[in-house]
């Protein structure tokens, strides 16, 4: 199976090489916002939107950087682009859904330092994806992130109701859960990575 068909790129980014569970990108929001299902869902979708916007911008910027032969500025440019994309999403969300805007709070601007987004921009540059491929890659990665954070939030809502030993409460439990999820996502490896 060739590795540059659109469907391969999509499913590989979403399942087999899930950004959170097998590449360890974007763990801060994954552990921070996955406490409740009704904040996890908008967080996942906001991240997907930022990924989409910054992937398109990163593609265009990379063309310019290559044309002027100043690739050493790539990292700084990408960070600036991502920060602006986050600002854009923040403003439109404030306008369209103020309740949601308040619910996400500090985690919305923190999408800027979500390594999944910078990672996405860097990977698509390294693999020399063309425009359509980058677009499909970013949507797949975003949906994969949303899926992972939703599954995690569902598990944690259930565990809130069970009684656990005191030392396992908190971060240790979340990490063990993430390990289990990661283990089950390894089953998708057959999708051809």
């Amino acid at each position: 199976m060739s590795t540059d068909t659109l469907s391969f790129i999509f499913f590989n980014a979403m399942l087999a090489n899930n950004f959170v569970l097998s590449l360890f990108l974007g763990l801060c929001p994954f552990l921070g916002v996955s406490g409740k299902l009704n904040t996890a869902m908008p967080m996942g979708l906001a991240t997907t939107l930022v990924m989409l916007v910054s992937s398109v911008c990163a593609y265009v910027i990379n063309l310019m950087l290559v044309a002027f032969d100043i690739e050493f500025l790539r990292l700084i440019c990408y960070i600036a682009v991502i920060a602006s994309a986050v600002q854009l999403v923040e403003m439109s969300m404030k306008k369209m859904s103020p309740a949601l805007f308040r619910a996400l709070g500090i985690f919305l601007p923190l999408i800027t330092t979500n390594c999944a987004i910078l990672g996405l921009a860097l990977f698509q540059t390294n693999r020399e994806y063309n425009f359509t491929q980058s677009l499909v890659y970013s949507i797949g990665a975003g949906l994969g992130f949303t899926l992972a954070i939703l599954l995690m939030a569902g598990l944690r809502e259930r565990l809130d109701l069970s009684s656990l030993p005191k030392i396992t409460q908190g971060a240790a439990l979340s990490l063990m859960l993430a390990g289990m999820l990661s283990l089950s996502f390894m089953g998708f490896a057959g999708l051809g990575s």
Binding site: L23, L25, F72, G119, A171, A172, M176, A178, G179, S182
Partner: protein, 222 residues
């Protein structure tokens, strides 16, 4: 996730032993503050990768803390975060090219995670919470402590993963030929399990150290 950084700054400007040790033990960036988790889990499948990642991050942390502390009265408050990011990104680019020149194998093993040091929240957190408010000497000493703490934490995780997953340490076989490697430790789930295991160990240790009187109260509350 408690961000205690910044609350424990003593008002006088003397460099104390605590300034240094804070990052290694009490406020360890990985085990206590849970900052910068992505590289911690992604590159620790062998000890050598863990050391390279720890040293690169420590260098960026030290250099950016120095520069931020020197420029703390020059940077306007409104654009401070953007300025810190630019400073950090500059040093990361330097490290990226340096590692590429020193060892191409290492560069390929670490992959994009060298460049992703830019978005390591520990470095930005130190710049914002400490270096931008403290004189040069204190910032440098504190950053050095934090860097050592981060590297030690990476070593703890990388050591366990390489030992159990490969039966070796630093590439030398340790556990003998009869040892059946736990492949899972080298795969992504192993990273989550090992870090979770360390956190459990520390939580258990903290629980044991609590004086009996407070523990009795806790039991009583339930």
């Amino acid at each position: 996730m408690n961000h205690k950084a910044g609350s424990d700054i003593n008002p006088d400007n003397r460099v104390t032993l605590d300034t240094f040790v804070q990052g290694i033990w009490r406020d360890n960036p990985v085990f206590v503050m849970l900052l910068g988790m992505c590289p911690v889990l992604a590159v620790t499948n062998s000890v050598i990768n863990a050391i390279a990642m720890g040293l690169s991050t420590s260098f960026v942390l030290l250099a950016s803390s120095t520069l931020v502390s020197l420029m703390r009265n020059l940077i306007p408050r409104q654009v401070r975060i953007a300025s810190y990011i630019i400073i950090i990104a500059t040093f990361v680019t330097m490290v990226d090219y340096a590692i590429q020149a020193i060892s191409l194998d290492l560069y390929n093993a670490l992959g994009a995670f060298i460049q992703l040091i830019v978005v390591n929240c520990m470095i930005l957190g130190r710049a914002e919470a400490y270096a931008s408010r403290q004189p040069l000497a204190k910032s440098v000493v504190n950053a050095a402590g934090m860097g050592i703490g981060f590297t030690l934490a990476l070593l703890c995780i990388g050591g366990v993963r390489e030992l159990l997953g490969n039966g070796s340490l630093l590439g030398y076989p340790v556990l003998g030929a009869n040892f059946e490697p736990w492949i899972i430790m080298l795969l992504p789930p192993g990273g989550f399990f090992v870090l979770g295991g360390w956190l459990l160990l520390f939580a258990w240790w903290r629980e044991r150290r609590q004086p009996d009187s407070t523990r009795a109260e806790v039991v009583h509350e339930h």
